[in-house]
Symmetry: C2
Subunit: 333 residues, 2 copies
Amino acid sequence: MTIQLSHGSGGKLSADLTRDLLLPRFANAALNQLEDQAVLSMPPGKIAFSTDSFVVSPLFFPGGDIGELAVNGTVNDIAMSGAKPLYLSLGLILEAGLAIATLERVLDSIARAAKTAGVTIVTGDTKVVERGNCDKLFINTSGIGVIQAGIELGVKNIRPGDKIIISGTIGDHGITILNQRNKLGDNISLKSDTAPLNGLIQTMLETTRGIHTLRDPTRGGLAMTLNEFSQGAGVGIELWEENLPITSQVAASCELLGIDPLYVANEGKLVAIVAPDGADSILQTMRQHKYGKNATIIGEVVPDHPAIVTIQTSLGGKRIVDMPVAEQLPRIC
Amino acid sequence: MTIQLSHGSGGKLSADLTRDLLLPRFANAALNQLEDQAVLSMPPGKIAFSTDSFVVSPLFFPGGDIGELAVNGTVNDIAMSGAKPLYLSLGLILEAGLAIATLERVLDSIARAAKTAGVTIVTGDTKVVERGNCDKLFINTSGIGVIQAGIELGVKNIRPGDKIIISGTIGDHGITILNQRNKLGDNISLKSDTAPLNGLIQTMLETTRGIHTLRDPTRGGLAMTLNEFSQGAGVGIELWEENLPITSQVAASCELLGIDPLYVANEGKLVAIVAPDGADSILQTMRQHKYGKNATIIGEVVPDHPAIVTIQTSLGGKRIVDMPVAEQLPRIC
């Protein structure tokens, strides 16, 4: 059984797909109306709104798949503002000829990830294109969350003296995908770190003070996120290489391939820029959460060299960490 | 100048694309923060949330293009709930090798359409896939609108006796795309009806009473929308063929190609199901608006044959209007 162009026609096969594949997995009061939009009651407060398309290849990889990534990616983008993610939309672009069993496996994963993250899929859209006009399956998720009064995270809050915390090891997702693509060997115990970080963030915001901004270092890796912070706030950033948490497998793969782990994508990590006097307490709180147990202070914001990120290497030298320019690894998310 | 994989890397070329192509066209307070999510203040009230992916081929056609369609499509899906559309997200999936001039033309069109519809693009995402893994350019737009207190449209409101109004001629969009694909000849003055309908709906809701539900008959055409209404509300629907507004060009093309215009997509039309005693006043209001000037009562909701749509033909017969089953024309939106 495969996807046919008629599954995207808006006619009977589209309705069958909604009834047989989507509603049993995602049923909820808003979606069940089968209107072209969800009508939602929102708690008071500002909202956070985010979108992400997912084109990862392969669709399935150790530690996750495109469906889990699509939920966690948008959940995390919303949560990084300090918002509690509530509702997601699900836009599917399917290639005619895709096995329905493959689609079902991805939809199961989406449903599971949404439940784990505590979000509801309330509206959606499915398009089908001819064979050869997309690669199996692309997913867009957009989402909405609500921000509690008093929370105002953002690059604008970053100050010299702030500490930089990473919630765990770097490079796991990107190196896992690279390993799958290049079939570097199955004996390497690599897996994606894809995870919903809204629970960790909620705990951090409820129990600590001094969080200035949060971001998940996905495409472009930690190097890109820190360059964005440094340029956006007009401050310098100094990293300490010996503090960077990295698994021995990822370190070995990076060395083998000549890749700098600072530029490799993560899908379940966050960078927190925090006030210096709050840093230790924030770190302790993070370490008690399963997605923050390897949290580490990896550097600080400095008044020197505004808009430039530097790293103190383990050998005692210092170099500039530029924005990544060339694409090392397309379609990692 | 073409799109390269590095434009989707999340690195420097991604940042350049945002700075050079997106911000100059879409700049606003939320987007300019360059965070991974927009933080928005919403007026009080329920919200409507909708998503749509656009894969239309060709990208440009008489009367519009994929960019205009992507804005109007989501604006309309939000507006059909009675909501005022406020904010859109923009998710781009680009094929490596796409001419940047083509992307710029589409982005110009998106900016123009958003301005016309009165919505702001507040967040976005761009992915690039290798040549041959998508067809030039796919767009996802998701959006949020706010519903004024007291407005509760929906299929659940449909009652026997209600009148069915279409806001104008049917089949224009689908037949235009079909004509472009099959190169049936340039002398036919066909063009897409793509249009933002939020202004028309706002006027209808402010000046009339008795609107029970609204929907835009896009993929699957009027036949699909009315079957959804009929099945969703468990009522019969009777159409009057001689009242169906259709241009002579679309009628001629449909006859030539053996296509029933009831099944052809529209991108700037709405169906309103309205209380019988409000129908005339609603019709008059619609006809004063540029997107409703050919509005017509085309049938009524009946207590007989629940979940079935019938049509009284011009020749005096009566037949059933089924849901469309096979795909006549893929990728019309």
